[in-house]
Amino acid sequence: MIDFPKLLRLLTEHDVAFLIIGGVAAVIHGSSRLTQDLDVVYQRSPQNLTRLVQALAEQSPYLRGAPPGLPFQWSVATLRMGLNFTLETSVGPLDLLGEVTGGGSYEDLLEHTITVEIFGVQCRCLNLPALIRTKRAAGRPKDLEAIAELEVIWEEQQEG
C-alpha cells in the first residue's frame, strides 16, 4: 500500500521536481480503478537527483522484485547511470521515470500538468488529455479499458 501523505510530503519537502502520471494520476482525475504503485516523472538535473536521493534515503529504496542482497545502492551515481527505476520503499511501491513513451522528459511534460493540493502539499499531475495521449502512445493492450475510462471522464468533464 502507498502512504501517499508521507511520500508526497517527503518529495515536496525536499523540493524534488517531479510530476505524477499513470494510475494515480488517473485516480486524481476521477478514475475508479485500483492501482498499486505511484508513477512519477522526475527531472534529471544533477541538483534534482541529489534532492531525490536525500528525500528517499531513509525509506529503504530497493529494486522491486529483485532478489535480496543485490549490490544496489541508492545514490546519485545509480540514478545517473539509469533512467527508469521500479522501487519498493517503506512508504510503498514507487516507479521513478526519467522519460515516458510519447511524453518525453519532465521538461516536455511540464506544460501539460495541473497543480493539485493533496495532503497539505502542492503537486504537479499530468493533465487528463496528456495522460490519455501517453497511455495511447504506450500501446499496451491492458491499458485499453483504462483509456476508455479516462476518455469517458474527459467527456463527462466537457459536458458538466
Binding site: M1, Q36, G103, A148
Partner: protein
C-alpha cells in the same frame, strides 16, 4: 512536445470499450476532492492487501 498537444481523435477499439464503463461511478468520483479520491484509493489498496493475505492463509490451511 507536439504529440501531447494533438487533438484526441476517437479510436474505434477504445470506443468499443467505452460502452462497458460505469458512468455512475465516475460521476460519484468527480464529486470528490483530489485528496478524497486518493484516500479512497488507499482504502481499496488496504482491502486488496487483506484479501491477498486471506487467500494465502486459505491456501496454506488447505494443504
Amino acid at each position: 512536445m507536439k504529440f501531447l498537444s494533438q487533438p484526441l481523435t476517437p479510436q474505434p477499439v477504445i470506443e468499443a470499450f467505452k460502452k462497458d464503463i460505469d458512468r455512475t461511478l465516475i460521476r460519484e468520483n468527480l464529486k470528490l476532492s483530489h485528496e478524497q479520491r486518493l484516500l479512497k484509493l488507499m482504502q481499496l489498496q488496504r482491502l486488496a492487501q487483506e484479501l491477498r493475505q486471506a487467500g494465502r492463509r486459505a491456501r496454506r490451511e488447505s494443504v
